[in-house]
């Protein structure tokens, strides 16, 4: 016959080839591919998991949502009425405690002194953890003595 058939797995590909005589070169043989197909795989997704619930308020990781995340958005009707003017008003400049924030508020205070001297500005640092809400006297003080508040800065 002078021919021989064989199947190979080459990497991801299955090949079937014939070993045939090379007519141009008597005494030599060569493989001729007659069929080739790539292996196709089904695999399991790494994203599967069972959704349990939307995250609710929690003390934070591990496992649950971090502090402040997962709860409902704030009530839209709770925003304070805006001021007509800042003239003769008291504005609290509250640094949340992130690096650089306090210095920024000091410079903002300086700007008001130079350009809007009738505005009283009070720079405060939020006393609690930088990443968490504070249930403390500062917000009460702002409500009692202030007309507005600028809160920040991070980064």
């Amino acid at each position: 016959m002078g021919e021989s058939q064989a199947g190979f797995n080459v990497g991801q590909r299955t090949q079937v080839a014939l070993l045939v005589k090379d007519a141009a070169k008597p005494g030599t043989f060569e493989w001729r591919e007659i069929m080739s197909s790539e292996v196709r795989l089904s695999v399991m997704s790494p994203e599967t998991g069972v959704q349990k619930a939307k995250g609710g308020p929690s003390g934070g990781p591990p496992g649950g949502p971090p502090p402040g995340m997962g709860g409902p958005p704030p009530s839209l009707t709770s925003f304070a009425r805006r001021l007509d003017t800042l003239e003769n008003k008291t504005v609290y400049l509250v640094d949340i405690g992130f690096g650089g924030g306090y210095n920024f508020m000091l410079q903002l205070q300086k700007w008001f002194k130079e350009h809007m001297p009738s505005v009283t500005t009070i720079v405060k640092r939020k006393p609690g953890n930088v990443f968490m809400d504070d249930k403390n006297d500062l917000w009460e003080e702002v409500k009692a003595k202030g007309h507005a508040v600028v809160l920040g800065v991070a980064g």
């Binding site: 795989l41 790494p46 994203e47 599967t48 929690s58 990781p61 805006r82």
Partner: protein
């Protein structure tokens, strides 16, 4: 930046004003320029926006903003394909499920073989975690974890360790703008049974179990959506230690001190994983010929002030033996106490470290000692910031070819038993 803030439904109606970055570390003159300069998001002067926000009526769009698009997780398909290996590798990478390196494709057969590595039921819930991208709490079964173990290249006998890591509920990656590193330590008999490296090159990429178990921890975080840049992942520079999270076994046999898991209350013959997290890791050249180890550590740890007195020192068995036999520290607790009393830094240096100011000052303001007292000290007064020796972790790892150590501000985040996840032996 605005788009990011508005992704959070709680922030959708709040007025945000932005300055250029960074604010941290900039001079008063630069901050002045930021205040009168333009908001990079709107192109309007920052100070004008501040005044407008305080004095202009709230627009209807602010009061009833378009609801941010909540991305509810689609019910994932359990089976993907059939497709070629090249296409599936590309799918996994482009779906954000890998660390960029090729993975072992999790065919059902491979996952089944992985499940044989544990006695836990495939349907048992092994973990529950919060998805920052969808706001959902998702439960993961042992089978879900097995898929990721296969992807990482784990052998079935590694699987109980991976399940124990998962049970700590500590992610390898977290959404900080900083570059947290994590560490994973294995103690107990399983270390030797699965050929983990605690000796020469224990932290080097030369051991399958160390490499793969640590990688599985990171792939877990990635597949849970913790690594989506500017969505859930913010680390400005990132940390290449997260490729395998310094996964290592303790060299218990060569240590002159108690193993770490025994210090944490586990039995010596129990197999345990422990996790750590921190920012700074200093790998020394082992130089302590002109100063004692204590003096060297005093210098090295001064550049990484601790959070809550936490430090993790990983020392070669040669170092531990020298401390015990030649310097009189019979236990590692003795040495931790020495460190807590003798490592000093000026109060000003401590408080002017940004993360200390951000994360510890609030404790000082609320009267927690010793921070409240330290806050009142002149800048040049020396304090002992490692005031609590219980938070100084000492681990023994190394091949005894050189008296090396690594000093870090990594803090201990928890331990979990591996044994409950192990496959029952046929004789059991």
């Amino acid at each position: 930046m605005e788009r990011v803030a508005k992704d959070d439904p709680r922030a959708a109606s709040l007025p945000f004003i932005y300055t250029p970055l960074p604010v941290i570390g900039t001079s008063a003159e630069v901050l002045d320029r930021f205040i009168v300069g333009n908001d990079p998001d709107t192109g309007k002067p920052v100070i004008k926006e501040i005044i407008d926000v305080l004095t202009k009526p709230i627009s209807k769009t602010k009061l009833a903003p378009e609801s941010p698009k909540t991305v509810k997780a689609a019910t994932p398909r359990e089976l993907l394909g059939p497709d070629t290996e090249d296409n599936l590798q590309r799918l996994f990478y482009e779906s954000g499920w890998t660390d960029g390196l090729p993975i072992i494709l999790p065919t059902e057969e491979r996952v089944k073989r992985m499940l044989a590595g544990t006695s836990a039921s495939p349907d048992e819930v092994a973990d529950e975690s919060f998805r920052f991208d969808t706001g959902e709490i998702v439960q993961y079964t042992v089978t879900n974890i097995a898929v990721i173990a296969v992807m990482a290249g784990a052998r079935p006998e590694y699987f109980p360790v991976i399940l124990a890591v998962v049970s700590t509920r500590q992610p390898a990656l977290i959404g900080s703008t900083t570059a947290f590193g994590a560490m994973l330590l294995v103690n107990g008999p399983i270390r030797n049974e699965i050929d983990m490296n605690s000796s020469i090159g224990a932290f080097s990429p030369i051991n399958q179990a160390n490499s793969v178990i640590g990688r599985a921890w990171t792939l877990m975080s990635i597949c849970r959506g913790y690594a989506k840049p500017k969505k859930t992942f913010w680390s400005s520079q990132g940390n290449n230690l997260n490729y395998n999270n310094m996964c290592v076994a303790e060299g218990e046999e060569r240590s002159v001190w108690t193993p770490f898991h025994v210090d944490k209350g586990f039995k010596a013959d129990e197999s345990v994983v422990s996790t750590f997290r921190g920012w700074a890791l200093l790998s020394t050249s082992g130089a302590a010929s002109h100063r004692s180890l204590g003096e060297e550590l005093n210098i090295q740890l001064a550049v990484m002030p601790p959070l809550d007195s936490a430090a993790t020192i990983i020392m070669d068995p040669l170092v531990a033996r020298n401390l015990k036999e030649n310097e009189g520290f019979n236990t590692k607790q003795d040495f931790a106490r020495w460190m807590s009393q003798n490592i000093k830094m000026p109060a000003g240096q401590y408080w002017k470290t940004d993360y200390i100011d951000m994360l510890v000052a609030s404790a000082a303001y609320s009267g927690v000692e010793p921070y409240a007292s330290w806050k009142k000290l002149p800048d040049d007064t020396l304090i002992a910031p490692y005031h609590n020796p219980d938070n100084i972790n000492i681990i023994v790892v190394g091949g005894e070819t050189s008296p090396l150590w690594k000093a870090s501000n990594y803090y201990y985040t928890g331990s979990a038993s591996i044994d409950k996840w192990r496959a029952k032996k046929s004789s059991d």
